[in-house]
């Protein structure tokens, strides 16, 4: 049904024709209509209910190595033509350039969402918050505060370009955050847990909500008895799940083709080389059903795909968007993403993970005489030109004589990507993924990170204890 499209094909053809009229090589229109809601609860009060709708289009024109971009919230033909004219102002040629191929039949995609958020009454969201609040508080009096939020995002996109592509996607994401503060003689400590997926309201099954609330409360209480983290270089065992952010920071950003083409990444010109321990097979895969970084198509209309980046320690490929892939005469890998229609796409990760091996998590811990067990990580940050990165431990313990012992206060880990990749000396069989938000040049996109339990022979822990 044509009304399912955010724009009619004849309007699209007219806009693209204007966009290439100064002799551009490529033109694209990206249309987005996103509805989102957030409901927050703090100390049992339902405080904020917010709804947002963001709807608009961006027109991109490429001429030679120059990109022009303009966006508008006015989806009338006049509004779109004005954007096309602004975007094409970078093209000074009067002839040549691309011929617009009329868009074909739309390739319509949608991520699986059983219960579309807009069909869910506000009261049901509040019930989820109350249930999670009750569970967090059931951990006892040390939990002095519980703050929660439930959010959903229903994003419909349409991408059409002068090559004749017309493709759409409907991406629905849902998220529950639970934050607890535990108070006592030693001050305040925080615990945080997130349940998030590319899914509809069905995500909030009671057992999953309970698990999330329990994790947040347990983390805050555990940290009340935490001692200062040690300072120095120690073996690190990373629990499965969000530990994958290590690979996101340690090498993922350095494998994005924009940094490769500009040779600002330490991984430029190194395909075929051994860049990691042979235990490392790293994959970026936008097709992982339900994961936080899952997409059917990227924000340039390329289908999501599974891309092996490092195989048994050997660098096999980078991640590509349209511009960088075209410069290198190859196809996009489905990694061209943007935050909203107001942004230009760039190379971004989707779901990035380390593949499993044979060890068990218990064996790895038992084989570690002394070290740090990291159960939960906060975010991280990397300088792709040097590979130096940091990431924060939000729940960590000492390992002494092969056993997990005392909880540790928050501290950062620092390391260097290539160096740390070589230090992976054990990988287990208990794969798990976790959701995250990745920021790059001011744009935030949802990404998944994953890995099984694994060990690094050493990494710098930035604690205060001697």
């Amino acid at each position: 049904m044509a009304t399912d499209l955010l724009l009619e094909p004849d309007v699209i053809d007219a806009v693209l024709a204007v966009a290439v009229a100064n002799g551009a090589d490529f033109a694209e229109i990206f249309v987005e209509d996103t509805r989102s809601t957030t409901t927050t609860m703090d100390q049992r009060r339902v405080e904020d209910l917010m709804s947002n709708r963001s709807r608009g289009a961006g027109v991109r024109v490429i001429v030679g190595s120059t990109t022009g971009y303009a966006h508008t919230a006015d989806l009338s033909l006049a509004g779109l033509l004005a954007a096309a004219e602004a975007a094409r102002s970078v093209a000074q040629r009067q002839s040549g350039g691309a011929t617009v191929v009329a868009v074909g039949a739309a390739q319509v995609h949608a991520m699986r969402a059983e219960i579309e958020p807009s069909s869910v009454d506000r009261a049901r969201r509040i019930e989820v918050l109350r249930a999670a609040d009750d569970i967090a508080r059931s951990h006892g009096g040390a939990i002095s505060q519980v703050q929660l939020s439930i959010a959903d995002n229903s994003r419909r996109i349409l991408v059409a370009n002068s090559l004749g592509l017309l493709s759409t996607d409907h991406q629905v994401r849902s998220r529950l955050n639970v934050s607890c503060v535990a108070s006592g003689d030693t001050g305040m400590q925080t615990g945080r847990a997130t349940l998030a997926a590319t899914a509809g309201f069905e995500l909030f099954a009671p057992e999953r909500v309970a698990e999330t609330a329990n994790n947040a409360a347990r983390q805050a209480i555990t940290k009340m008895s935490a001692r200062p983290a040690p300072s120095g270089d120690f073996p690190i065992v990373l629990a499965n799940g969000f530990g994958g952010v290590l690979f996101h920071e340690a090498c993922g950003h350095g494998l994005e083709a924009d940094a490769i083409v500009k040779k600002t990444s330490i991984y430029a010109d190194r395909v075929g080389e051994l860049v990691a321990s042979e235990l490392v097979t790293l994959v970026d895969d936008g097709t992982c059903d339900g994961e936080w970084g899952a997409i059917a198509i990227d924000d340039e209309g390329a289908p999501a795909s599974r891309n092996v980046l490092i195989e048994n320690g050997v660098l096999t490929d980078y991640m590509w968007d349209y511009v960088r892939a075209t410069q290198e005469g190859r196809a996009s890998s489905g990694n061209g993403r943007r935050q909203t229609y107001q942004d230009l796409p760039m190379v971004r990760m989707t779901n990035t993970f380390l593949e499993t091996r044979d060890a068990t998590p218990d064996q790895i811990i038992a084989d570690t005489p002394y070290g740090v067990y990291v159960a939960a990580l906060g975010g991280g940050q990397v300088d792709t030109s040097t590979g130096d990165f940091v990431f924060g431990m939000t729940e960590a313990y000492l390992i002494e004589n092969g056993e997990i012992t005392a909880p540790l206060r928050e501290a950062n880990l620092v390391g260097n990507g290539p160096d740390v990749l070589a230090r992976v000396d054990a990988v287990a069989n208990d794969f798990a993924m976790a959701p995250g938000t990745c920021g790059k040049w001011g744009q935030q996109v949802p990404v998944g990170s994953g890995q099984p339990t694994m060990r690094l022979t050493g990494m710098t822990v930035g604690g205060t204890a001697a």
Binding site: T39, E47, D48, G56, Q145, K262, G378, G380, G463
Partner: protein, 446 residues
Amino acid sequence: MSEIRELARRIAGEASGNEQIEVVVASGSDTNVTAYQGSVEKFTSATSAGFSIRVLLDGPSGARIGTASTGALDDEAVAEALAQARDNARFATEDEFLAFARPDGVAAPEIDLVSPHFDALSTADKIEMALELERATRAGDGRIRQVQAATYVDYRSASVIVSSLGIDVETAETGAYLSVAAIAHENGENQSGYGLSVGRAGSELSVETAARDAIRRSTEMLGAVKAPSTRTTAVFDSRTASELLSIISSALSGDMVVRGRSFFAGRVGEKVAADAFTLVDDPTDIRHFAASPVDGEGLASRRNALITDGTLTGFVYDTVSARRAGTASTGNALRGGVTGCRALQLLPGTDDFDAIIRQVGEGIVVRSLRGVHSGVNPISGDFSVGITGRMIRDGQLAEPVREVTIASSLQKMLLDVVAIGNDIEWLPGLAAGQTIAISDITVTGS
């Protein structure tokens, strides 16, 4: 009267019965030019608008608030947002402290944030400035191998806040900046650094300042090694000091205090910092790039003393957090119902960066912070971040260092401030920067 103000008044005028409506409309346009390898890599020219409606319903046990926002200003979008905000309010919990701001009689400072020279540059001039920035950065030092992006940005924005309680204000500002990210290369090693020049109009910007900054920050890191693990004095330069003040500011938000999420709660009148430490939030100071005549609820901006000679003197509040605390708004509503500091500055000390390095003698200069969002907990005060910087030996800058963490707690760091510079730099963002030296920091490296 502007069109958006008229629209805002019309929506606010729909409040009826036990309902209040507040409308915030923001609109703007911007130009963004990125140069790469001698040509224009990206050129973006855009206008955007958005409005946010809050509906407050008065009830027997207090008020409820619902919010809706949208990026379109057509009648259909407006009607949909208003209906959603009203629906949202019905599901909130009644709270005796919830209220919209009422005009409080404080006059907004007369500060003009619109440069008369904003339109002085043509599009061609802006493109030329971005190209020149890339050329100057490449040419300034033979070790600069790559310029990732040399960018010129300018913007003009206007915003209107109107409520059914009589708030009715309109503000406008212009701004521009140049930024450049350079990669220096020597002996097979890369180091990056970025440079910045900021102003209210493109004609105020300096290509030379931005290029020089990027060249110095990238080349000075060449040959960096791990710092020796030790406990020493850390000297934050103006850029990292500004980040540090921004982190601390979260604990000075009245909202965090009344919710029991600040390590400063209940400590007004106590000594919380070194004697030399006097911190104010002053969005009325036009030199600050975060200056603005009004806050996010339309109340006049004012100067608020936070820490005076090391003693905690107060917090910042919006209308709701002030009611919870039994006080009045300090004009510190941010957008989106958040309360916080708006334009921080530290009372300058007497010495410049070089003099402070000489006084410190042995220590470490902090040039960049990494992992701030994951390594600092503004509730517990735990502080552990990755840094790059320079060692200080014999009162001089010595070898560059990387892959280093510094750790302490925010509470202890404030008390351990040993010097504050006179070298105030008006940086974009929440806090102006100047050199700050802090003793007894745990440095972990090799």
